[in-house]
Structures are given as C-alpha cells and as structure tokens.
Symmetry: C2
Subunit: 143 residues, 2 copies
C-alpha cells in the first residue's frame, strides 16, 4: 500500500492493510501499521501477551516464516471518536467444506497519531463452534 | 461508588469500580459503567462475542447469580489519548497454593462520553500457564 494511503488512511484502511500484510507475509509492512509506542499489545489466540515492538515483531516473524495468513475480517462492530476506533471482528479463515469447531474473535484498536491512524492493540482469542451468523435487522445500516 | 465519582472518575477509577462491582455481584453498578452505545462488546474467556447492553447484561446476570467474582487486575499496560484509554491487564484470581495451568488476559477500552469515562470493550481470554511476572526495569516508571 502506498505510503500516502498509510498517512491519510482511515482506521478501515489500516485494518485492510493489516490483513493484507498478513496474507503477503510482509513483516515490515505489518509492523509499520503499529503505533510508535512501547505500550502496544498483541495477543494471539491461546498465547501469552506480547508487549512492545520487539516482542510483537519476533513472534510475527516466527508465524509468518511458514507463509502468509489468509484471514477475512467479518461482522465488524465499531465504536469510535475523533481519535480512536475500536473494532471487533470475526476472523474468517478458509476451512474448506469442514464445519470448524472453533472461531477466532479479534479486537483491533486504532489511535490517531502524528503518522496517521495506527494499531495499538490486537487481541485475538478462540470461541467454541463455528462463527454465529448475525441477523441483519430490516432497515438497519450495514457497516 | 458515589455517582460523582462515576462522572468525574478517571479510566482507572472506572476500572476499579468494574472489578468492585464484580466482587459484589452488583449487576446494576456493573452495567452503569458501560457506554450508552449499542456497539459495546464483551467477550468472556472461551465464549462467544456479546454485542449491546441486552446480551451483555443477560450473560453477566447468569454468571453473577452464583456469587461475586474476585479478580485483581495486575500488570497494567495502557495507551491513551484525551478521549480514550486502552488497558491490558492480567486478571489475577486466587488459586490458593495451586499452580494454575492457565491465566486470563483482559483488554478493557474506555472512551470519554458525556457521562464521563465509560467501558466500550471488555475482551478476556485464556493463555497457557501461570501469568508470567514481568521484570521491572531499574529506574523505569511504575504505572
């Protein structure tokens, strides 16, 4: 993604760039999306908490060494103000025709920084069963 | 906690009130700490995502019907701006003398609203092993 998009992009653009960097196993692109703040936190499903750029980068490097992760974020719920966007998504991973017995829920928090919107928190965890499909209320805004 | 504290309290005060309400199994006090926003999200360890006041309240009511939860939030890492505070804590639960085989990591996100600081996101998940004890760097600020 061009650098101008990263500076002027919305939280949604940063989220798209994040899952795109994972799919391409592009560690540098991935780490550039995080805020320049040592209190950033990343929690992978079923794993211990990682704090700061060095810890977070080392674990992603390990994960991405075996190839890209193809994840589609779905069923977004978002709360925001001028400086913050708090996203909750279901991370959809292709299971072929099999019915998965768990799904992954992720919290992604974006803060507006001097460099543009950046990730300060990624918290992913597993929940039992296939992801529930949310009913769309008639007349409701899709988002 | 008096209502004035809830209006003028900091994110730390709201977090303290949250774990206090859990300990007292006070459902009304607990729900009053959440933002008046239907996009609020609560994820309990190993459970599916709950969205909105009705879903979140119903599940807490069920959990608290068997008594209060005594949780001490520890090892806080926080990132914030004027309108937002993003907390990561280890939820310490008394295991007696037993070495626990899992621990709970929680993300709590607070936004500043017209009513004061309020919770918009609680995401708790389990990680393997006992909670790691973080080294405190000599001369570092404790927070």
């Amino acid at each position: 993604m061009p650098r101008t998009t990263l500076i002027h992009g919305s939280p949604d653009d940063i989220e798209a760039a994040y899952y795109d960097a994972l799919a391409r196993a592009d560690l540098d692109a991935l780490m550039a999306l995080w805020a320049e703040d040592e209190e950033i936190v990343c929690i992978h499903p079923g794993a211990q908490r990682l704090v700061g750029h060095a810890e977070i980068r080392a674990v992603w490097e390990d994960i991405l060494s075996s190839g890209g992760l193809h994840i589609r974020p779905r069923q977004l719920h978002a709360t925001q103000n001028m400086m913050t966007s708090v996203h909750s998504v279901i991370e959809e991973i292709d299971h072929g025709n099999e019915q998965p017995d768990v799904h992954v829920i992720a919290t992604n928090v974006y803060l507006k920084t001097a460099m543009g919107w950046r990730i300060v928190m990624h918290h992913a965890s597993v929940a039992p069963g296939a992801a529930p499909v949310e009913a769309v209320a008639s007349g409701a805004m899709l988002h």
